[in-house]
């Protein structure tokens, strides 16, 4: 493995601070991420939660360094991996971080896998390009990997094309591909959304097993609070490009500190609330070229007052020290207190 200069094994595994990403389109500048902060330790699972379009995937892409530039630009902030700011690396150094240190799993494995190459080729490519292995050695490793992600008859299936696999199997291939080089950080972007429920559970189980075995840090990006509850250690809730609340999973579920989190929780159908009307969050998420002044959530918020409608947006409030939790709401006490 290539040695990354300035690496500090004692530094936090991954630390994102004050990250800003904007998309410069012909219709104006869309601020996709406006100061995201979170960290990840080895062996830990951090869930990033939010509605679609809130900037979850962009955050992941910014960490991976695979934003489409143009139109996407990281304008501010730091992404530190073991103390090294990835944003300051050259493209070539950055490229070597990918797959080696930080890997990613995508939502729709069918479109995320190249349809015209065999899975063996696509898996082996990682070894060939990063480890300089021969084609045959790379294929051998690909078979082993497929075995590890519990794909039956890996030896024969290695020469199949993505479209010949079922959805769950494809996602396993994706996972195998991400884990090929034993990365320390794995980012899973909605890994189970496209799958049916039983397969979802299998895949989540597999991910959890593999994480435990390798002591990886896992960032799980999802909009599904049900999935989160089972596997995550901590949760960051994103809204309109900001982390509006961050807390251990138990605390969030029991006492959300941000109205948005609260609204999300209330929109989960629960058995014990049978017969009651399911609550729905009013309105739509804002369009990013036209984010409301002040707190971006204010037009949809039951707690909103004048202060919420004025710039600047609410700062990061420390909700509690132990456990560490934060929220971006002027009235978080009120929200928790209820």
């Amino acid at each position: 493995m290539d040695v990354l200069p300035g690496i500090d094994p004692r530094a936090p595994l991954l630390e994102v601070s004050d990250l800003h990403v904007e998309f410069r389109t012909q219709y104006g500048v869309a601020k996709a991420i406006n100061g995201a902060n979170f960290w990840l330790s080895a062996g830990e699972t951090l869930a990033i939660l939010g509605e679609s379009g809130c900037g979850k995937s962009v955050t992941a892409q910014a960490i991976m360094g695979i934003l489409d530039t143009p139109p996407g630009y990281v304008t501010q902030g730091q992404i530190k991996y073991r103390g090294v700011d990835l944003l300051k690396l050259s493209e070539n150094e950055r490229r070597k971080v990918r797959a080696n240190r930080i890997a990613m799993i995508f939502q729709d494995a069918l479109s995320a896998l190249n349809p015209v190459y065999t899975v063996g080729f696509q898996l082996g490519e990682v070894f060939r390009k990063h480890r300089g292995m021969s084609r045959s050695a790379a294929k051998q490793r690909a078979i082993e990997l497929l075995d590890q992600v519990k794909i039956p008859a890996a030896r024969t299936r290695v020469d199949d094309y993505p479209h010949q696999f079922s959805g769950g199997m494809r996602q396993r291939v994706m996972i195998a591909m991400a884990l090929a080089l034993d990365p320390e950080v794995l980012i899973a972007d909605e890994p189970t959304t496209a799958l049916d429920v039983t397969v979802q559970a299998q895949i989540m189980g597999l991910l959890a097993d593999l994480q435990r075995e390798r002591n990886m840090g896992l960032i799980l990006i999802t909009h599904d609070m049900g999935v989160v509850a089972d596997v995550a250690d901590r949760i960051s809730v994103m809204y309109a490009g900001r982390v509006v609340e961050e807390a251990p999973v138990y605390d969030i579920y029991s006492r959300p500190a941000h109205p948005y989190t609260r609204a999300l929780l209330e929109s989960i159908p629960r058995l014990d609330m049978k017969g009651q009307q399911l609550s729905v969050i009013r309105g739509l998420p804002p369009v990013l070229t036209d984010v409301p002044k002040g707190c971006a959530f204010n037009p949809r918020c039951a707690y909103a007052r004048d202060a919420c409608r004025q710039d600047p947006a609410p700062p990061v409030y420390q909700v509690s020290q132990q456990p560490h939790r934060t929220a971006r709401c002027h009235f978080f006490r009120e929200v928790i207190g209820e």
Partner: protein, 312 residues
């Protein structure tokens, strides 16, 4: 020319946050066409090409707005004279006013180019759709027919068709040339359309629509065509240029425009003869032709980009 394609570049990739697809009009339902129009309106390149195409079309429709000179009034005594007051571009080999000829030549070139391309576009669309969508023996039959069409040299078919189609000695041959070019130039489009349809047909959304009981016609025109049309439109805008040029080749071979009809193609092939000593009679019509074709292609590109949600 500076930013011909910039408009197509600055789009958010799929799975991106809520970057607006068009100027925000809150809570108003948007149709594809409405979206596309809203999108187009913002594009500089769209307006540039629209203006250029409009100028050419006006030139084709009312040439006398641009010049009062008679393009047929030529005298050898004027041969290769430089620009004068009315004759902005000077005179050619025959002593004709190049400016007047270029202006008056626009009509035939545009009519032939646009109509033949439209004809070819329609034929190619239906052939490609039928072959690609229905497959089976129909595909085999149509594809082999296309093969034969492609195998028959343009020259042979052009000569035969033009001869058959223009029996009236008084006609200027525009109808015959248009029909000939239309009937001969649809084949490559048909093949491109066919392969686009075949790949679109296997997409999930088409399967889904089929499951939902869409009629084949609806399936084709609502689902497959809009998704396969992008590369086809690009090809057609190119074909327009090719057909305008092909008219010149047919005329050059004596089966094109007749009875002293003027067209850019004819002017260009005449100008080529003496280009070594007198380049201007070639340069002017070539410039007009080039700019016109370019305008159409730019327009096609902009419209294509606006209508193709994948590219937006």
């Amino acid at each position: 020319m500076s930013d011909l394609n910039t408009v197509t570049t600055a789009e958010a990739p799929g799975g991106q946050p809520n970057v607006p697809r068009s100027p925000v009009k809150k809570d108003k339902p948007r149709s594809l066409a409405g979206d596309a129009w809203a999108d187009l309106r913002k594009r500089k390149i769209f307006w540039v090409s629209v203006v250029m195409v409009a100028i050419v079309l006006v030139m084709a429709a009312w040439p006398t707005l641009f010049t009062t000179a008679d393009p047929g009034a030529c005298a050898l005594s004027n041969q290769y004279k430089g620009p004068t007051g009315a004759a902005l571009f000077g005179f050619d080999y025959q002593g004709c006013d190049i400016y007047a000829k270029v202006i008056h030549g626009a009509r035939n070139s545009i009519v032939v180019g646009v109509l033949s391309t439209a004809l070819a576009g329609v034929i190619g669309l239906f052939f490609g759709l039928a072959a690609g969508y229905f497959g089976g023996w129909l595909d085999a039959f149509l594809s082999r027919f296309v093969d034969i069409m492609l195998g028959v040299p343009f020259l042979l078919a052009g000569i035969v068709l033009s001869n058959r189609l223009s029996s009236d000695p008084k006609s200027d041959g525009i109808f015959a040339v248009t029909l000939t070019l239309g009937l001969l130039s649809w084949t490559s489009g048909a093949r491109v359309m066919r392969s686009a349809v075949i790949s679109a047909k296997n997409q999930d959304y088409v399967a889904a629509a089929r499951m939902l009981g869409s009629k084949p016609s609806r399936l084709i025109f609502r689902h497959i065509v809009p998704n396969s049309i992008a590369s086809y439109v690009v090809l057609l805008t190119l074909l327009l240029g090719i057909n305008i040029a092909s008219e010149a080749t047919l005329s050059f071979l004596g089966v094109g425009l007749k009875n002293n009809a003027i067209s850019w193609g004819i002017m260009i092939s005449e100008g080529t003869q003496f280009a070594r000593t007198e380049p201007w009679p070639l340069v002017w019509p070539a410039l007009f032709l080039g700019v016109t074709v370019l305008a159409f292609i730019m327009l096609g590109d902009a419209v294509r980009d606006a209508f193709d949600p994948k590219l937006r």
